[in-house]
């Protein structure tokens, strides 16, 4: 495979042809990595929706050095040899990212104090990094009633940012998608056609991919703030999935089981519902050791052990 050169915020990196700008930036790491609220490397066709990852292409390629006329979603734009990209070095990118953060917040309930995602929420991180100090909206927010979709999953649509990740999980790793987006515009909603219809060995992964607190684990709800629990890598013999999970402990108690998330909040592997929901006893697991969380979350950084 031939390598091609791309420069992001003045840092040069060599990547395989076909790599997206976002993934090239992830190879560099650190602050040049654009925030990605809808892209998920383990889900095909994800990305392109939230627009938080927009960057400026100052030079298209060595062959055709013209800049691209608009900001482009870095998660859906492949690099060309000699491409020059500006992320945090472009005031235009930073201005638009701030605006997009605001767009994502104008209909968001800002109910972090009662949300189970608080502490590991990507929207919290994003607004901390790019939000405005004061709100410009006096408008009423859209509201939906929280509903159960399946007996283990709660949907709080008010918090959803319509990233489509859960839809892609259902499309790609469960054998039968029974939920999707209904309606359109700012009143579209994630929904099942029939209430409580989600019943599938892998449906729980929707919770892990959700960047906000729209989909939460009913077996964990309100038991504890995330930052009072400690994650450990653990595994068990599982006939359905690899059995490699993260268990979240408070004292001797397992409060929650999730996939093992990396620094971008993406699970290394999807896990099955049996591991996630039905094994909350310490004897069910072989504990490997504490899990280091590299994510720089607003709230998590003070609490997670490094």
């Amino acid at each position: 495979m031939s390598l091609i050169k791309v420069t992001i915020d003045n840092i040069e990196v060599e990547v395989e042809a076909g790599t997206t700008i976002l993934n090239a930036a992830r190879q560099i790491g650190g602050s040049v990595v654009p925030p990605a609220m809808c892209y998920y490397s383990k889900l095909e066709g994800s990305g392109g929706y939230c627009r938080t990852c927009l960057v400026k292409v100052a030079q298209g390629s060595a062959k055709d050095p013209r800049p691209m006329p608009k900001l482009v979603p870095s998660c859906r734009t492949t690099v060309q040899d000699g491409m020059v990209v500006q992320n945090i070095t472009s005031p235009e990118v930073m201005e638009n990212r701030r605006a997009i953060t605001e767009f994502l917040l104008i209909n968001h309930p800002l109910d972090c104090p009662v949300c189970d995602q608080a502490g590991e929420c990507h929207l919290q991180d994003l607004s901390y990094a790019h939000g405005l100090d004061e709100t410009q909206t006096v408008e009423e927010r859209r509201t939906f009633e929280p509903i159960d979709i399946g007996d283990k999953i709660k949907l709080n649509m008010n918090r959803c940012i319509l990233c489509y990740r859960c839809v892609k999980v259902a499309d790609q790793i469960t054998d039968h998608r029974v939920h999707g987006v209904l309606g359109r515009g700012d009143h579209s909603e994630i929904s099942t056609h029939i209430l409580k219809a989600i019943d599938n060995d892998f449906s729980g992964n929707m919770i892990d991919v959700c960047p906000v607190g729209a989909l939460t684990d009913k077996t964990f709800r309100f038991k504890s703030r995330v930052w009072f629990t400690k994650p450990f890598d653990a595994h068990r013999e599982c006939p359905t999935c690899s059995g490699k999970t993260a268990i979240w402990m408070k004292g001797e108690e397992i409060l929650r089981v999730t996939g093992r998330k990396d620094k971008y909040g993406e699970v290394e592997e999807f896990i099955c519902n049996d591991c996630r929901f039905n094994h909350k006893e310490i004897k069910d697991w072989i504990v490997e050791g504490p899990r280091t969380i590299e994510r720089h979350s607003v709230i998590s950084q003070n609490h997670y052990q490094k």
Partner: protein, 434 residues
């Protein structure tokens, strides 16, 4: 009398039937093409004609056909009959009155592109036009212009009409293809473009009704003859659906290059402003294009007469110009409240946003809410700047051009009529409503 290409027989009784259409020379273009032209030669004529897409973006039709990936055996030709842009009602009229012209154009385009199955995707609300088209398609099959081995040429084509469920977004060509495939009508992220990956993953060309209806004339008379009509790079004729405060609203066929002033005031076209009122503003190409005040629609900023052409309407960029767009010509006299008109447009875009990408999904709703407050006398001066900012951050940052279409009317209305917004805020009511 101006040149008529699309509407020349429109008043002949029974034109929608095969007999009358054929008697007037219909389907001769198909016979000519299948007998004497290779598919590539048909494309060549269209390139020579300089015909631009009439759906709004004005992309040269022949060039678009040239992008199609011919390595793939299965290719599709699709007609965009979703016509839902406020102010635009030309396609509805044309297809309803002269369905065979569209069918003949579909056969020509399909032949040129090598499509074996072609589709007319029609807006759900136009169910009566769908009925007319289906009847005409049956007649074309009966008379050997559709189906197996058309007129012994060896070329076969099936043509289908497919109704949408009434969503403006399904007029965006990739949302249209999704909908045609039976999926939710969300625009696709491009690239890839439909010419490479289109319907069912195969190379596809999507064209507007009016673009396709121009093909028979081009085939009969040659691309050069078509290119001789019009002005500059605006070749041929254009249907304009004129509405609003004029004496004679309706669908007109104009030769591109007609002065705007003549179009508004002459009796051949709009017949002037109703009740002898003063012209205040015009939205020249469907609700999404920038609104222009009277002095800038009649003359460019340089003082030259503004013409009905792609170039002249765009003269001055968005600062002082606009776009020909789809040809939806909305005329407003001095009784019109610009804020209220903008609110109406913005409500539409909010309602029609598919909701996939955050700037458009959230921005359109926010814009509508702010405008509602201003129109109702609850706005602040800060709101006006906020609107400008929201529009600026939606524009260019979205998956499909609906975001731009929602942003441009806001930006242009405030650019040209800022005092009117300020007056709403100062008086805390709409100065024009009693």
């Amino acid at each position: 009398m101006a040149k008529q290409i699309l509407l020349n027989n429109i008043e002949v009784p029974g034109l929608a039937g095969f007999e009358v259409y054929r008697r007037l020379g219909g389907y001769s273009a198909v016979e000519k093409a299948l007998k004497n032209f290779t598919p590539d030669q048909v494309t060549e004529e269209v390139k020579k004609s300089g015909l631009k897409g009439r759906g709004g973006a004005g992309f040269p039709a022949g060039m678009k056909w040239g992008f199609i990936d011919k390595k793939n055996e299965t290719r599709y030709f699709v007609c965009n009959y979703d016509e839902s842009e406020p102010g635009t009602f030309k396609d509805r009229f044309l297809g309803q009155m002269n369905p065979h012209l569209l069918i003949e154009g579909m056969i020509l385009g399909s032949y040129a592109l090598g499509a074996r199955s072609s589709y007319i995707y029609i807006r759900g609300e136009l169910f009566y036009v769908l009925k007319i088209l289906e009847k005409a398609i049956d007649e074309a099959y009966l008379n050997g212009f559709l189906g197996e081995n058309i007129k012994g040429s060896g070329y076969s084509l099936d043509l289908y009409v497919h109704p949408g469920a009434g969503a403006y977004i399904c007029g965006e060509e990739t949302a249209l293809l999704e909908s045609l495939e039976g999926k939710r009508g969300n625009p696709r992220i491009k690239p890839p473009f439909p010419a490479i990956v289109g319907l069912y993953g195969c190379p596809t060309v999507v064209n507007n009704v009016e673009t396709i209806a121009a093909l028979p004339w081009i085939m009969n008379n040659g691309g050069e003859a078509y290119a001789a009509i019009g002005i500059g790079n605006s070749k041929g004729t254009k249907l304009i659906s004129a509405c609003g405060h004029i004496n004679k609203p309706g669908v007109y066929e104009i030769e591109l290059g007609l002065p705007v002033e003549e179009f508004i005031y002459s009796d051949e076209y709009c017949g002037g402003i109703r009740n002898g009122n003063k012209l205040k503003a015009v939205v020249a190409g469907g609700s999404s294009v920038p609104i222009l005040p009277a002095h800038l629609i009649l003359k460019t900023a340089k003082g030259e007469p503004r013409l009905m052409s792609y170039e002249s309407l765009a003269e001055g960029g968005f600062e002082t110009g606009t776009m020909l767009g789809s040809g939806g010509f909305i005329v407003m006299d001095d009784t019109t409240c610009i804020v209220k008109n903008l609110l109406t447009f913005s409500r539409f875009y909010h309602h029609e946003s598919c909701g996939q990408c955050s700037p458009c999904r959230e921005g359109t709703g926010w814009i509508e809410k702010i405008l509602t407050r201003i129109e109702n006398g609850q706005g602040t001066m800060k709101d006006i700047d906020l609107l400008v900012n929201i529009a600026r951050h939606v524009e260019g940052n979205t998956i499909c051009p609906l975001g731009d279409a929602a942003a441009w009317p806001v930006a242009s209305a405030i650019r040209h009529f800022r005092e009117e917004f300020e007056e709403h805020v100062k008086l805390q009511r709409c100065p024009l409503s009693k």
